[in-house]
């Protein structure tokens, strides 16, 4: 838009640092403090309408906007990757509205906003992990009513969740929740970890980093303070377990990371590769190789994103 055209719209240009006004940020920070004080409890907050759609990370964006400062270095991942379109879009949003440095390197980031994954690399005490949350209520699919769910949390009467898990085992021989696997935080609240694969659940337990969760559409915030106990729900005779794969990452050979399955052709050929693209890239840079490293089918394109 030209300067002349812009002038026709008074006061329409120029947003505050990180988009949100300072009063809103203060309100959100107060709610975050409450969330940290009561680990796993869902704090209602005055979620604002953001210029990105609900369900596309508005909760995480509002949390990030409220805590980010000019010296922070931001990393944004979606499905473990910095290059998925929505991660690119959110990173660009903050580069534009807050002019902060961004990075793809997990170790360099001070704030990491994520959707559906926790980085493979262990996080440090000087890092904050911000989760985008679609449905903050772990009981929602057992009880659709918010009024009822809040009572269940208040009285800590979580029998309905235990029954659901038990029924899974009775019917299928195992718990059939693969992602958004419920956890109990600090021996009190049952919490939805957001739709991360259950593979990532153990990383939440006793983490050095502060973990903040933002659900914009549902207008809820919650938190896991550093070094807090986080248990994935299970039974003594059916202990919690995580996904395993029969083969390593095709590119870097990792056997301890979450792998995405990639379909190579229409004949059913497939390979597995790390979902955490930064983790995989760093391993390859260190000289690790996988069974597909020299396969002409796996061409790695280094591309357009310009980051720190």
């Amino acid at each position: 838009m030209s300067a002349r055209k812009r002038e026709a719209w008074d006061g329409e240009t120029g947003y505050n640092f990180a988009y949100l006004d300072e009063q809103t940020k203060r309100m959100i920070r107060r709610c975050i403090l409450k969330a940290v004080a009561v680990p796993g409890y869902q704090v209602p907050f005055g979620s604002r309408e953001m210029p990105l759609p609900y369900g596309w990370g508005t909760g995480g964006i509002q949390v990030t906007a409220s805590i980010i400062g000019r010296d922070d270095i931001l990393k944004v991942i979606d499905q473990g990757s910095d290059d998925t379109t929505n991660a690119v879009s959110i990173r660009a949003f903050f580069a534009k509205t807050a002019n902060v440095a961004t990075t793809e390197e997990t170790s360099k980031a001070s704030v990491i906003q994520t959707r559906h994954r926790i980085p493979e690399q262990k996080l440090r005490a000087d890092q904050i992990l911000v989760y985008q949350v679609p449905n903050p209520e772990p009981l929602r699919f057992l009880e659709p009513r918010e009024t009822e769910c809040r009572k269940v949390h208040a009285y800590s009467e979580y029998g309905v969740m235990q029954v659901k898990l038990y029924e899974d085992i009775a019917r299928f021989g195992r718990i059939t929740t693969a992602y958004a696997y419920p956890v109990r935080v600090n021996d009190r609240y049952i919490m939805d970890p957001s739709p991360i694969p259950k593979f990532d659940n153990p990383k939440m337990d006793n983490s050095s980093a502060l973990q903040l969760f933002g659900a914009g559409r549902e207008k809820r915030l919650y938190a896991i303070p550093p070094y807090t106990k986080v248990d994935s729900l299970d039974f003594e005779d059916h202990p919690f377990d995580i996904e395993t794969w029969d083969e390593p990452c095709g590119l870097c050979g990792a056997t301890d990371s979450f792998l995405d399955e990639i379909i190579l052709d229409d004949q059913g050929s497939r390979m597995f590769a790390c979902s955490d693209s930064n983790f995989c890239g760093e391993r390859r840079a260190e000289g690790h190789t996988g069974p597909m490293t020299n396969d002409p089918a796996t061409r790695i394109e280094e591309g357009a994103s310009k980051n720190v």
């Binding site: 006004d21 005055g46 609900y54 369900g55 596309w56 994954r117 207008k219 796996t298």
Partner: protein, 365 residues
């Protein structure tokens, strides 16, 4: 061939350029001006303003143009802009009893003080495509002027009924508290009527229309009559703290609907008529009617009626009426979900292996 794709940034940029090109369409066709949208597609502007919760015809027209005519997208644009605006305070309540009426009808009385004023309406038009409109008209159409101006004294129909005590009075709550503002505070249940009305006023017209219709078909039936529908201009006044008296900002056009519903009485309340209320920016009559029906349906508990159907269920209605929230969450399914899907895939493969093993065992036995 597997390509660990980088370059989402360039793809997004290119997609947006293509959208801009598509929005403009054939450059040989004149580009739409905002004044054309405002003047000639005014009802779309009204709806965008109403559901966008911002009275600004020019911005709403711009949002509608930017959204290529997608109303919900335009509402979203306006809402996202609205949240960034500073707040100076609240205006005085608008007084629709002193409206400059362009339309006013009542279905409950044949004639009444002030009369029935049809105004610009699609009602009673035959829905035949008007092929004359396919080409620009040579002479702009001119409507005849009435012999007499619209009566200034136009009492509200409901006030006529209230005098007799047959209609529950529309009185403020005890102490006339500040209304709730759901754009600043998260809603909780049970919600007050102020919050419900704010939610409905912003709510999606299609959703409210369907809910209202469901009450008419028996899913929460409440025998409604249109007490009054009026549309016209009302003054907006503000009391600046340094002055201490009301200053008029200007006029806005609003539509209002008051539904009257028969109520046979309960142990606490005598038989009387009860009210449902709808208000919208501009000419959004259908929206206000739907809103009034749903408002009344949501008052079921207040009148001791059984809450059995979706339109009566406050949490159901208020949680799902907002089309910006709804479209966001439905459309987010387009985002990549391959990590969750992989987790499910792994699980289904295991369940499948269990299943096949069990069947093999059965077969062996």
């Amino acid at each position: 061939m597997y390509v660990a794709v980088k370059g989402g940034e360039a793809a997004i940029e290119n997609a947006h350029q293509l959208l801009a090109e598509e929005r403009r369409g054939d450059p040989n066709v004149a580009e739409l001006e905002l004044a054309q949208i405002d003047e000639q597609l005014g009802l779309a502007v009204d709806r965008v303003m109403t559901e966008g919760s911002l009275y600004d015809r020019r911005l709403a027209a711009l949002a509608f143009k930017q959204a290529c005519g997608d109303v919900i997208e335009a509402v979203f644009l306006l809402r996202a802009y609205r949240t960034t605006l500073p707040r100076f305070g609240s205006t005085e309540p608008i007084d629709t009893a002193h409206m400059d009426v362009l339309r006013r009808i009542s279905a409950t009385f044949k004639d009444l003080p002030g009369g029935q004023v049809l105004g610009p309406t699609f009602d009673y038009t035959h829905r035949l495509i008007d092929f004359d409109l396919a080409e620009p008209s040579e002479e702009p159409p001119v409507a005849p002027l009435a012999e007499l101006p619209v009566d200034n004294a136009m009492p509200r129909v409901n006030e006529l009924l209230e005098v007799e005590g047959l209609l529950e009075p529309a009185a403020p709550s005890d102490g006339d508290p500040e209304p709730f503002d759901l754009t600043r505070e998260p809603i909780s249940f049970p919600a007050g009527r102020d919050l419900r009305l704010q939610n409905l006023a912003r709510g999606d017209e299609g959703f409210l229309l369907a809910l209202a219709y469901s009450t008419q078909r028996g899913f929460g039936r409440n025998h409604p009559f249109v007490g009054e529908i009026r549309m016209g201009e009302v003054a907006v006044e503000f009391v600046p703290a340094e002055l201490g008296f009301a200053v008029e900002f200007g006029d806005i056009t609003v539509s209002e609907c008051q539904m009257v519903t028969q109520f046979t009485g309960s142990r606490e309340a005598p038989p009387q008529f009860t009210q449902g209320y709808g208000l919208a920016f501009g000419f959004c009559e259908r929206k206000t009617m739907a809103m009034a029906l749903v408002d009344r349906a949501l008052r079921a508990e207040e009148f001791g009626e059984a809450v059995e159907y979706p339109a009566q269920d406050e949490e159901f209605v208020l949680s799902h009426s907002d089309n910006v929230e709804a479209q966001g969450f439905v459309s987010h399914l387009k985002l990549p979900h391959y990590v969750d899907f992989q987790a499910e895939l792994t699980l289904v493969r295991r369940l499948r292996a269990d299943y096949e093993q069990a069947h093999r065992q059965e077969a062996a036995e």
